[in-house]
């Protein structure tokens, strides 16, 4: 009768699940209520949310602070172009195959750059991204340094009519964001995910528990690379045009993503969601100010890192003890014992 | 109390949420040598860290020469004339023996101690002055650590577990050098787990137990049984 029970769910998490489902249904119906410009913006938001979740998994849980994620965004984009133009694939399978190729490619890369520790690892990832950028700029059949556009025939495979096409690529972006969010959530709940949290909390203790740290980090890196490439493919499916500078832009695909995660709250699942919303709110109101807006973004990131290292979500959580994505176990005592 | 060199008043010390010292009162007269004894975890090292400024507390809880130093940084405390010989010696591995000693002289206070005097006290250091500090034996490292602290010409020197991990013969040598040091009118606080060594050179003793002062008195006046009880927390 009075046995305490152990559970992950909390009232807040149950409410969040319910609200989340409602929001998802509303978003899924987007093409029926949203205008074209709004759908474009929302697609971009979904894809940034996915990139932020992936980066957060790497940096916030696995300690892999990468500033070279643009390598895989650009790679995924280029694979979309190469596999559809030269391989004759439909864009959607081409994007997925691009993800698998990125996973395969990330293994030798990891064996090299995992030799660099901490912050040097970060710059190492950047070098890899530069190698990607310079290499793709050498491929003349993909337009070399100036890039190329997706042929109309291939674009039409997404939908013959413009409205269908836009709805389809909206759903692809939404679907990808949901899949990435769920994948990261269930990964963190799994045995491996718990191992990851153990590594984050204490690498020494984790290795004492028999967790193969190198291997676990490698798994995260490979999974993250694959998902990042898939998101990259979807990004350039929206843009329909690719060039080395756009595909491997450190600002667009890494700096903004880092700001999102830092501002929202690194090492939490809720953080990237909040961060994405804040980032786009800032961008939509300040983007006209150009460079000034970017300086504000840099400043906000610095202030958050110094004054609230757990981000906006950290502030909320510390204050209200909320957890929308139940990861930790809680011991719950039956009502009659509460307060005793 | 009024002419105390160092006085500690109701000191509570914390590591984050963990309280390591409770309501410590202590005073040290000029030229006095006192022993602080206690079991592992009794709070001896926390006391050393608090006095030296590595652990910062409320300002008024520690006074040195009449000035409140409880909230000062370690480097500021060093300039005021307190030096610590840290537990485990902790020489700088990237520095040679002589560089370690010179670094100890950073604060540049005037007084009897100089490189020359240190080398006279511990001639073996002079022979090895240009070698890396990591090449020294444990006992030699302890000499270098003491020399490094003396180089600042402190008015109060704190010895934290200077016999820990050393062979008895080496400990004997180091304790034989102590009178030469405190003979210069220096005030000293000696923290030891090895009670008898500490009591040999001290005039008063404080015993710590679980973060509190469990016994205090003149060395000749407290009995061995009292100390054992205060040390282990059981009646002997």
């Amino acid at each position: 009768m009075s046995m305490p029970s152990v559970t992950r769910a909390t009232p807040a998490s149950r409410a969040a699940l319910f609200i989340g489902l409602v929001v998802l249904v509303v978003l899924a119906l987007g093409p029926y209520w949203a205008g074209r410009a709004d759908m474009r913006l929302m697609s971009e938001i979904f894809l940034y949310l996915a990139l932020a979740c992936i980066w957060n998994l790497m940096a916030g849980y696995a300690g892999l602070v990468s500033v070279g994620q643009q390598a895989f965004v650009g790679f995924g984009g280029y694979m979309l172009f190469a596999l559809t133009i030269f391989g004759g694939l439909h864009p959607v399978p081409a994007i997925i195959v691009g993800g698998f190729l990125a996973a395969a490619l990330s293994i030798p890369i990891a064996t090299l750059i995992f030799r660099l520790k901490g912050a040097y690892f970060a710059i190492g990832t950047w070098v890899v991204a530069e190698v990607f950028r310079l290499s793709f700029a050498q491929i003349q059949s993909l337009g070399g340094g100036s890039g190329s556009s997706l042929p109309v025939a291939i674009v039409k495979e997404i939908g013959a009519k413009k409205a269908t096409r836009e709805a389809n690529s909206y759903w692809l972006a939404l679907g990808a964001a949901v899949i990435v969010l769920l994948a990261v959530y269930f990964f963190l709940r799994s045995r491996r995910g718990l191992a990851l949290t153990a590594i984050r909390d204490s690498e020494v203790a984790a290795s004492g528990l028999g967790i193969d740290i190198w291997r676990t980090k490698l798994e995260v890196y490979v999974i993250a690379s694959a998902f990042t490439a898939i998101i990259g493919g979807l990004i350039f499916l929206q843009k329909l045009r690719i060039s080395p500078d756009a595909a491997f832009s450190v600002n667009d695909w890494t700096a903004f993503v880092i700001f999102i995660v830092v501002i929202g709250g690194i090492g939490t699942l809720e953080g990237p969601i909040i961060g994405t919303l804040v980032f786009f709110a800032l961008r939509e109101t300040l983007a006209d100010f150009g460079t000034f807006y970017l300086m504000v973004l840099g400043l906000v990131a610095i202030v958050v890192m110094l004054k609230a290292p757990k981000g906006l979500w950290g502030l909320v959580r510390d204050r209200f003890d909320l957890e929308l994505f139940p990861l930790s176990y809680r011991v719950r005592f039956p009502k009659d014992e509460e307060g005793s | 109390m009024s002419d105390a060199l160092l006085s500690i008043n109701s000191l509570d010390a914390f590591y984050d949420d963990f309280q390591a010292l409770y309501d410590i009162d202590m005073s040290l007269e000029l030229g006095e040598v006192i022993a602080i004894i206690g079991a592992n975890g009794a709070g001896k090292s926390t006391l050393m860290r608090s006095i030296s400024g590595l652990l910062r507390n409320e300002s008024g809880q520690i006074a040195f020469k009449g000035a409140s130093i409880g909230s000062k940084r370690a480097d500021q405390v060093a300039y005021m004339g307190i030096a610590l010989v840290p537990e485990g010696r902790q020489l700088f591995p990237s520095l040679s023996v002589e560089e370690n000693l010179l670094l100890g002289g950073t604060v540049g206070r005037s007084g009897p101690w100089s490189l020359k005097r240190i080398y006279e006290l511990f001639p073996v250091l002079s022979d090895r002055r240009n070698q890396p500090s990591t090449s020294l034996s444990g006992g030699q490292q302890q000499m270098a650590a003491i020399g490094r602290a003396l180089m600042s010409n402190p008015e109060l020197i704190l010895f934290d577990e200077i016999s820990l991990g050393l062979a008895p013969i080496v400990i004997k040598g180091i304790y034989e050098a102590l009178p030469n040091i405190v003979g210069e009118g220096m005030t000293a606080m000696i923290v030891e787990q090895d009670i008898s060594k500490a009591l040999e050179v001290s005039s008063r003793v404080y015993c710590l137990q679980e973060g509190r002062v469990s016994l205090t008195g003149k060395v000749g006046e407290v009995s061995r049984e009292d100390i054992t009880a205060a040390y282990f927390g059981v009646a002997a």
Binding site: I123, L306 | S52
Partner: protein, 288 residues
């Protein structure tokens, strides 16, 4: 044949500039384990400070050094004490992300003030003058740059191993707490280290600006070159950093000789090869 020799010689001299990019990075990492992502942008900031000095005072870039070095050093001290010291600790994220934010701020501030138009520091005759050596024409500016790199690294080596400040750097790097007990205020020591590093950055920025045109966006590339030189040479070894810069420079000029598009790629590949074969660099620091 002579063209290849020429490429190699040019590469060696270019390595001097890369060593200057790397020296500040290496110094900061050595003293406080900080990797400064904004390092490249600070080099470009120094180049622009040089530009303003030259335009306002009508002086030669080398004379501008007399103003830019102390300005950058002072900025370094303030930056370290005012901002970067607060990021240091066991967690690698705060310094990384704060310097990343700093990089974005510097880059966009430069863009706001100077626009994206490429600029160059006019060094006058020294830019075109060369001395003939056995059929090669060796440019005076690259030669002077290389000589400055050697002098700077020798100077840093001297500061590190023969002065009280250097002793303090090494002591704080070994053990912050004990160094603090000896009267060293680590916040101040770190400030001095950053001041020294940005002094070197000032020299690197001015020499870069005389050699090629620059705009606010190229900082990241300079950070990467400096970083590659550090890793190729071996962490914590200043002379190794010079060797790393030379290897990187030679790889780039040989790559460019094969195909102009291969210049940067060849440098990165040289770096990755070294990382694969000798993860600790070619000249890792020998403990003494």
């Amino acid at each position: 044949m002579i063209e290849w020799v020429n490429s190699i010689v040019q590469g060696i001299l270019l390595g001097g500039l890369y060593a200057l990019f790397a020296a500040g990075l290496s110094l900061i990492f050595g003293v406080m384990r900080l990797v400064n992502i904004a390092h490249g942008d600070l080099i470009i900031l120094a180049a622009y400070m040089g530009l303003t000095t030259i335009v306002m005072l009508g002086v030669h870039p080398f004379v501008a050094l007399l103003i830019v070095i102390p300005l950058m050093a002072g900025f370094g001290y303030v930056l370290q004490r005012g901002l970067l010291n607060q990021t240091l600790g066991d967690d690698i994220l705060p310094p990384l992300l704060v310097t990343f934010g700093l990089s974005v701020i510097i880059q966009n501030a430069l863009l706001e003030i100077y626009t994206a138009d490429p600029q160059k520091l006019n060094g006058g005759l020294i830019e075109t003058a060369s001395i003939p050596v056995g059929g090669l024409a060796i440019g005076i500016l690259p030669l002077v740059t290389f000589a400055i790199a050697i002098v700077v690294i020798a100077g840093l080596q001297w500061v590190f191993y023969a002065t009280a400040i250097g002793r303090g750097f090494r002591a704080v790097s070994d053990n912050q707490d004990i160094a603090q007990l000896m009267g060293l205020n680590k916040a101040h020591v770190y400030g001095l280290a950053m001041a020294l590093a940005l002094g070197v950055v000032a020299i690197a920025g001015i020499l870069l600006g005389m050699r090629t045109s620059f705009d606010p966006s190229i900082g990241a590339g300079r950070l990467i070159f400096g970083f590659e030189a550090v890793i190729i040479g071996g962490l914590g070894n200043l002379w190794g950093t010079l060797a790393g810069g030379v290897i990187l420079g030679v790889a780039q000029t040989i790559g460019a000789k094969i195909d102009p598009g291969w210049q940067l790629l060849a440098g990165h590949i040289a770096f990755l090869v070294v990382l694969a074969l000798r993860p600790n660099g070619l000249f890792p620091r020998v403990e003494h």
